[in-house]
Symmetry: C2
Subunit: 339 residues, 2 copies
């Protein structure tokens, strides 16, 4: 169907575009009769006002964009929930895009959001994003930008994160305090900052407590999911390593590992302690209930939108905005999978 414009309605009725526009908006200086005529013609032609077009007065579209590496990922799900709830409360619609951990796709999606004239962009980076020119471009277009969780230190925008290194240190220390001497780490991909930081926190905790770091006890979980956890645990069993504790980069990887141990008759925590990361809502429902690090996804989501809104408001008011970095608290949650 061809897009119907105000002009067409005006031409059909032989009146001015301004009158048509005013009639549709119920202005008082247009007669009831004209209003009725205009509305009837608009209905007949299936005229659709572009309600989400950029408001020329306020220059706002009241839509914001959100790019996440993975939607199904339980941590990002919580973040999305927090963002959407906070945005709805303030009357914003959220356009969500999934980069699928691909830099190429992420770049295209930032372009899409710029071209769709969103009021702001929130993003957690794909694993292979090194170049950040697409984000600088959004900022050059004067679009407020907030990064969360997987960030780049090179981009001068607002950020909301946790202290991954400290949290991983505490997770590993919890295993050490409970008596573990040979602790393996199921780590994430090589590039993302949070994966690097969690690895470094693990290593530092070993060294600070007189345990030798052994690189052969570090297993790769590229997608940090259930299947990856299963694979790493199977490899660990095959390697016949003397291991009495595991610090897994995510709860999902930890749950995958525990399933494999169960299948092999290896008892958790008697034979091996398992520590997760993120405190997924079901980590307490599995048997044994998973010890983990509480990573506040929902709060991160709400905080992300709040930071974005601060900047959008400053922009609207013409006030310079200084990017802020917010670090959320984490803590150890002791359950049954550790001694």
């Amino acid at each position: 169907m061809k897009e119907v414009t105000l002009k067409q309605i005006a031409e059909n009725l032989g009146i001015s575009i301004t009158t048509v526009s005013k009639a549709l908006k119920n202005y008082s200086d247009v007669s009831k009769k004209t209003k009725a005529l205009v509305k009837e013609e608009a209905k007949k032609l299936h005229y659709k006002p572009n309600v989400f077009a950029v408001n020329l007065r306020t220059k706002e579209s009241k839509t914001v964009g959100l790019i996440v590496p993975e939607i199904v990922h339980h941590f990002f799900s919580s973040v999305i929930n927090g963002i959407v709830e906070e945005a709805e409360r303030k009357g914003y619609l959220v356009i969500i895009l999934q980069s699928n951990e691909s830099y190429k796709l992420e770049r295209k999606q930032v372009d899409l959001l710029i071209s769709k004239r969103v009021d702001g962009i929130m993003i957690s980076l794909a694993n292979d994003t090194v170049d950040t020119s697409h984000l600088l471009e959004a900022m050059e277009h004067d679009i407020p930008l907030v990064m969360f969780d997987k960030i780049s230190k090179l981009v001068k925008c607002s950020k909301i994160i946790i202290n991954d290194r400290q949290a991983a240190y505490n997770a590993t220390k919890h295993l050490i305090d409970s008596g573990c001497k040979n602790i393996a780490h199921f780590r994430g991909a090589l590039l993302p900052q949070n994966s690097i930081d969690r690895f470094l926190g693990y290593k530092k905790a070993l060294e600070d407590h007189g345990l030798k770091y052994d690189s052969s006890l570090v297993y790769m979980c590229e997608r940090v999911d259930y299947e990856d956890g299963r694979r790493a645990a199977e490899q660990l069993i095959k390697d016949a390593k003397k291991v009495d504790g595991i610090f897994a980069i995510t709860d999902m990887a930890a749950v995958g590992a525990m399933t494999v141990f169960k299948e092999h008759g290896i008892k958790v925590p008697e034979d091996i302690s398992v520590m997760g990361f993120s405190n997924w809502f079901l980590s307490q429902a599995i048997t044994p209930a998973l010890s983990t690090i509480n990573q506040p996804g929902y709060e991160m989501g709400r905080g992300t939108f709040k930071l974005l809104r601060k900047e959008m408001k400053a922009k609207k008011a013409g006030i310079p905005f200084e990017p802020q970095t917010k670090v959320l608290e984490t803590f150890v949650v002791k359950r049954e999978s550790t001694k």
Copy 2:
């Protein structure tokens, strides 16, 4: 930043807009020198071609819209994954919106997608959507539309569903076949078709097998989630009903119930059998592993995009398109939570 146009570049260089456009597209009838000049000026001005604007020749934007009631919901997560993967394979970007089970929001989101000129819309309805005029409006705008899972029979568009009544019948029959005589049902909200159908399937299976239907054994799980399952199970225990089996509307509600039983020392399946619905990937990782109905979310997602693409292709070719309804197969998955 002000939007830079081709016109501005042309004016700055004192050449025609057509030449600027051709130069940026590397047309052979523009000299190398002019191309270099134009590109330099474009870069200087931060000119951004609107790559996602509707292509005037093909009339395509290569973006499609997806509205789901809830993103975090594990079944919808699988559907989203299927849609996004299939769409990416065909070069489409997917704009995802979460209606949060609200008709009001869903309506706004359909308007947004129409105004953003998407090539097609995929939707699973909110629980309280009764009026479907917003969907008819999308169709009047000649935008291909596919409904999945939570559909309305009133809208004449393509649909992809399962036979919820039959699947629920089979789930209940599985409980009956394993010896259950007093079977409770944790049902979903009153309105959505799939919630009604699953309830009717449960009721029919009881009646067909000589078991009396007892409305006091039907518990409401409004949001069909883990917390709802917990609440319903707690109420069941409080009511001191003689129940030896439960058919829960979702795996999440079933897992919630099992957690409560565990806390109360009620053994599954010895004291009570539990049957879920949807075969969430972790239903095999919990203890006892959950018996359930396999509901193919990922396949539904892929099928949804494929149906949409069929219609988009027909539209592009100017061929009339007859809406199709696809019913996907389900089956009982027997694990440890039933006898």
